[in-house]
C-alpha cells in the first residue's frame, strides 16, 4: 500500500530525473558520435564537480524512484507486505545506490 509520502517522493524523484535522463542521453550521443574513447571521456570526467554532482544526483533519484516503484510491484504481484515489503524496497534502494555510487566514483574520483 503506497503511503502519500512515498507517492510524493516518487513524483519528485521523477521530476528531478527527467532532465537528468535527457542530459545523459544527450551526452551519450555526443560522446559516441564525436568518437570519444574511454580515455578521453575519463579525462573530462575525472575530478569534475559538475559531472560528479550530476551523476551523483542521478544515482540517488534513480535509487529512490526504482525502489518505490518495485515496492508497488512486489506488493501487487508477489503479495509482499509489512516489514518484508519495506525491507525489500530498502535493499533495492541501497543496492542501486551502491552500484551507481561505485560507477560515479570510478568515473569521477578513482
Amino acid at each position: 500500500m503506497p503511503g502519500l509520502r512515498l507517492y510524493l517522493a516518487q513524483r519528485i524523484s521523477a521530476m528531478v530525473m527527467t532532465p537528468l535522463v535527457l542530459t545523459h542521453l544527450g551526452v551519450m550521443i555526443y560522446a559516441i558520435r564525436g568518437g570519444l574513447g574511454t580515455t578521453e571521456i575519463l579525462s573530462r570526467t575525472q575530478g569534475s564537480l559538475l559531472w560528479g554532482s550530476l551523476y551523483g544526483l542521478f544515482v540517488i533519484t534513480v535509487s529512490i524512484h526504482a525502489a518505490i516503484g518495485l515496492r508497488v510491484i512486489a506488493y501487487e504481484w508477489f503479495k509482499l507486505s509489512g516489514l518484508l515489503l519495506n525491507l525489500f524496497a530498502i535493499l533495492v534502494g541501497l543496492g542501486l545506490l551502491a552500484l551507481g555510487g561505485q560507477a560515479v566514483y570510478t568515473v569521477v574520483l578513482a
Binding site: 500500500m1 503506497p2 503511503g3 502519500l4 512515498l6 506488493y75 501487487e76
Partner: protein
C-alpha cells in the same frame, strides 16, 4: 462477431449467466429470444420470468438513474438497463457475472456495503456551513471550483467504476474511484465545512495515492464521468497539504 443480425425478431441468443453464491458457482446457459432494442436487463428479466424464477439480480429504475443494475457483461462492467444486447453481443452470446471487486450474495447480486462504507470513509457527506435561517449563498456557476464540482457530480453510485478499477482489486482498503470522485465534488464546494476531515481521509491508508491513473474508471463510467481526473485533483490537494504541513 455478429452484431445487428441478432436484433431481428425470432432470433435467439445464448446467455451464460453466473449462478451461485458466496461459496461458489458456475455458468448456466439460457437461450433467449431477442427483439429489437432489447437491453441486457430485459434479457435477464426474460430468463427470470420464463425459465428460472429463482434467478437473482437487481434493478429499479430501468432508465439509467438508480445505478442498481450494474453487472459484468462479457467481462466489462456495464449498466444493463441502458446496454443493448445488439451492442455487446459477441459470437451470438453474452456472458453475465456479478460485479467484480465486490462480494457476491447470490447470482448477479453483489454486496455493496463496502462500496458505500467507503463513501462515508472518504467523508463523502456534505457538511453544511449554514442553516435554513441563513440566506442562500450565491455561487457563480462559472467559478472554477463550481465547474470542477459540476463535472463530477452526476454520479449514480452504480459501482461500475469500482468494478473496473485494478487498484481496488490490489488494495482492499482503497477508497475507489466513486468515493474519491464524490470527495472531489465536496472539496470544490465552498459551502462545505468538512474539508479538514476529508483531507485526512483522502490522504490516509487507501487514499488517493493508490490510484494508478490508468483511467479504467473513466472509460467504463456509464455517465461519462472521469473519476481519474477528480482523483488527480485530489492528489494535487494532498501534495499541497503535505507542503503546508496539514497532513
Amino acid at each position: 462477431m455478429s452484431k445487428l443480425s441478432v436484433t431481428k425478431r425470432g432470433d435467439f441468443v445464448k446467455m451464460c449467466i453466473w449462478r451461485g453464491d458466496a461459496s461458489g458457482g458456475s455458468f448456466v446457459d439460457y437461450k433467449i429470444p431477442v427483439s429489437e432494442t432489447q437491453t441486457v436487463l430485459d434479457a435477464v428479466t426474460w430468463v427470470q420470468r420464463n425459465v428460472e424464477p429463482g434467478l437473482s439480480y437487481r434493478f429499479a429504475c430501468r432508465v439509467g438513474m438508480c445505478g442498481s443494475c450494474a453487472m459484468m457483461v462479457n467481462g466489462r462492467p456495464r449498466w444493463t438497463c441502458r446496454t443493448h444486447v445488439s451492442k455487446v453481443i459477441k459470437n451470438n452470446q453474452i456472458r453475465l457475472e456479478p460485479l467484480r471487486n465486490l462480494p457476491v450474495i447470490k447470482d448477479l447480486v453483489c454486496d455493496l456495503s463496502d462500496f458505500f462504507a467507503k463513501w462515508l470513509k472518504a467523508n463523502g457527506r456534505f457538511v453544511p456551513t449554514a442553516t435554513r435561517e441563513h440566506p442562500v449563498k450565491k455561487i457563480s456557476p462559472l467559478s472554477r471550483q463550481r465547474q470542477a464540482a459540476n463535472a463530477a457530480i452526476e454520479c449514480i453510485n452504480c459501482a461500475v467504476c469500482y468494478a473496473a478499477c485494478d487498484a481496488v482489486e490490489q488494495y482492499p482498503n482503497y477508497l475507489g474511484p466513486a468515493a474519491l470522485n464524490r470527495a472531489w465534488t465536496l472539496v470544490n464546494d465552498v459551502r462545505d465545512d468538512g474539508k479538514r476531515e476529508r483531507l485526512r481521509a483522502i490522504t490516509a491508508d487507501g487514499g488517493c495515492q493508490c490510484c494508478h491513473s490508468q483511467h479504467g474508471c473513466a472509460s467504463h463510467c456509464p455517465n461519462e464521468l472521469n473519476p481519474a481526473r477528480s482523483i488527480a485533483g485530489l492528489k494535487q490537494v494532498a501534495v499541497t497539504a503535505i507542503f503546508k504541513g496539514e497532513v
